[in-house]
Subunit: 312 residues, 2 copies
C-alpha cells in the first residue's frame, strides 16, 4: 500500500472465483479459495490496483473475502448470487504438469452475466480469464477505449465454442494460453507456428505458457523465450497459469505500456510469481509475499539464465 505506483494505472479482471479441493502427491486441501480471477487478482495486486468482476454463491466464506481486501483488490464487482459458489475438484499425479479434473460444479457461474460499471468500463488494462467466450465478447463490447485487452481460454471452449472464441480472440490485443491450448486452437504442434497462427487471428501479442518449462512470447514479429524458475519443491501447481498471467498483466498495467522489452520483463515477473504460488496449496504462499520477494526471484531467474558472449 506504500507503493505510489499502484494507483497510477489499473487493471480489470473478469473470471472465476472458486472453491477448490485439490489432491497432489504431497497432500490435499479441501474447500480452499481458488479460481482464475482469484489467483490473477492477488498476483497482479503486487503491481497495480485491480478491480475484480466475478460471481460467488451465498456459501462463499467471508474469510475468503479478506484475502482480496488484504491485497487491496476492488471487489465491488464481485457479485454474490443465490446458490452455491463454483467448485472445482482436481488431482495431480507425479507429473505435476497435468491436472486431472475430478468434479466441476458450475453452480452460480451458470448465471454469470457481467455488466460493467462506468469505472470498470474505463479501466485501461483488462484481462478476460478463462470463461465462456460469449461472456468475454460481452465484456469487450462494453469497454471504452482500453489500452490493452488480453484473454485466456481452455480446451473446453476450443472444442465446444470455437466460433465464439475466434471472434473474441479477434477483438483482443493479447492472448495468454498454455501450449496444449495453442496447439489445439491452431492445429500446429510447433509452438512458434502456433503463436504466429494466433497472431494472424488478430492479437499483436501472444504468450504461450509452458508450465515448468517457461513461456514463449511473441510481440509483433519479435520472439522471446522465457525460462521458468527451476524449482525443487513444487507442492501444488493449481493456479500457476493464472498467477503467471496476473504477474504479466500487473507489470504491464504498472508501466502503462506494452513494448517488447516490457513484455519480456513482465513474463519473468509472471514466472517469479508462479514459482512462488506452486510452493503451497491454494494462495497460501502467494498471499504471503512481499514486493521484494518478487524482485529477488526475478533477479535469481536473471542470474540462473545469464550467459556471456561466445568466446572464440
Amino acid at each position: 500500500m506504500t507503493d505510489t505506483k499502484r494507483a497510477a494505472n489499473n487493471l480489470l479482471v473478469v473470471g472465476t472465483v472458486a472453491i477448490d479441493s485439490v489432491k497432489t502427491p504431497f497432500g490435499e486441501a479441501d474447500s480452499v479459495l481458488g479460481g482464475s480471477a482469484t489467483y490473477f487478482s492477488v498476483a497482479s495486486s503486487y503491481f497495480t490496483s485491480v478491480r475484480l468482476v466475478a460471481v460467488v454463491g451465498k456459501d462463499f466464506p467471508p474469510s475468503y473475502m479478506d484475502t482480496f481486501q488484504k491485497h487491496g483488490v476492488d471487489t465491488s464487482g464481485l457479485v454474490k448470487m443465490k446458490g452455491e459458489t463454483f467448485r472445482w475438484k482436481g488431482a495431480y499425479g507425479y507429473d505435476l504438469n497435468v491436472a486431472n479434473t475430478l468434479e466441476t460444479k458450475l453452480n452460480v457461474l451458470l448465471q454469470f452475466d457481467p455488466v460493467l460499471t462506468k469505472e470498470e468500463k474505463n479501466t485501461p488494462f483488462v484481462f478476460l480469464a478463462n470463461i465462456d467466450p460469449d461472456l468475454q465478447i460481452k465484456v469487450i463490447s462494453q469497454l471504452e477505449s482500453p489500452k490493452l485487452v488480453a484473454l485466456d481460454s481452455m480446451n473446453f471452449w476450443i472444442e465446444n465454442k470455437k466460433e465464439s472464441l475466434l471472434k473474441a480472440i479477434g477483438m483482443v490485443d493479447m492472448v495468454i494460453v498454455n501450449e496444449g491450448e495453442a496447439r489445439e486452437l491452431t492445429g500446429h504442434s510447433n509452438l512458434v507456428k502456433a503463436a504466429r497462427a494466433i497472431r494472424k487471428m488478430g492479437p499483436k501479442t501472444v504468450i504461450v505458457k509452458q508450465g515448468e518449462y517457461g513461456s514463449l512470447g511473441m510481440v509483433g514479429d519479435e520472439i522471446f523465450s522465457a525460462p521458468a524458475f527451476p524449482l525443487e519443491d513444487v507442492f501444488d501447481p493449481t493456479g500457476a497459469g493464472d498467477t503467471f498471467a496476473g504477474g504479466v498483466m500487473g507489470y504491464l498495467a504498472r508501466h502503462g505500456k506494452v513494448t517488447g522489452e516490457i513484455v519480456r520483463q513482465a513474463m519473468i515477473v509472471g514466472a517469479a510469481l508462479a514459482s512462488y504460488n506452486v510452493e503451497a496449496f491454494s494462495l497460501q504462499r502467494l498471499t504471503a509475499l512481499h514486493f521484494n520477494d518478487i524482485v529477488a526471484r526475478y533477479n535469481e531467474i536473471k542470474r540462473l539464465t545469464k550467459f556471456d558472449d561466445f568466446v572464440h
Copy 2:
C-alpha cells in the same frame, strides 16, 4: 582447418555409428548415416580435434566415411568388423519429442570391445555416448589422467543394467542425460531434485536435456537454465541430443576448462548446433554448417532470451 585452436585440446568419443531409417510427419529417409558418436563427433569437430572410437560392419558405405574425413574426425579408432553395421529404424509423430523405435539391429555392436591406443588413452576430454555401461566402465578404466570424462545413457540401461550404470556414473565428472532418463534413474519427477541426486552419485556436473524446452545444468551447486532455440521448422529430431552433447563437449575441450560460466556457454553452443541438426534428415544440415553459423545462432539465442533488470 584454419582454426588454430582445434589442435590445442582434444576430445575422444566412444559410441555408436549406425545406419538409420527414419520417418517423420515431413518425410522419410532410408539407410542414412546415424549413431550417437556420429552426431557427436561431427558437432564437436567445429570446436576441437576429435577421435572417434566405434565399430561398423563390412556394409558401411565408404561415402559415409567421407563425412568424418570432411570434418577432420580421426577415424583410426573406427573398427570395421565382419558383419553388418548397427541399424536403427524409428518414426516420429507430430509430437517430435517422442521417438518410436520400430527396429533395432545391434549387429556388429554386439562384438564391440573398445581397446584404446596410447593416444586415445591420453585424450584430455572424453565422452562416452550411450552404450552398454560395462563398456563405458572398460573405457574409463583405460584412461590416463583425463581432464573431464562425461557419459550419456538411456532407459534400456537404467532398466537392465542399473548397477553397472551407477558404477560408471560414479567414475565420471559429468553426466548428460535427457529428462526422462534423469527421472527414471533417480525416481525424482522434479528435475532439480533429479539433477542433485545424480550429483550425489559422484559427478560434479549434470546436464539434463529437455528437448525443445532447453536444458538444465548443474555445476557444483550452481544451476543454469538454458533455453532451446525456438525453431519453426523441425524436420527430424534424430541425433539432437548427441549433437547437443557434441557442442557442449567440443566447446569445453576447445577452452580446456570446465567452469560454471564455460559450461553455460557450452550448453548454448549445444542448443545452437542441435537446432540446426533438426532442420534436415540425418546429418545433412549439421555437415553443411560454417563456424560463423553456429556463432550467429548463439547470438540469436542470446537475443531471444535477453531481458533487462526489473523496473520499479
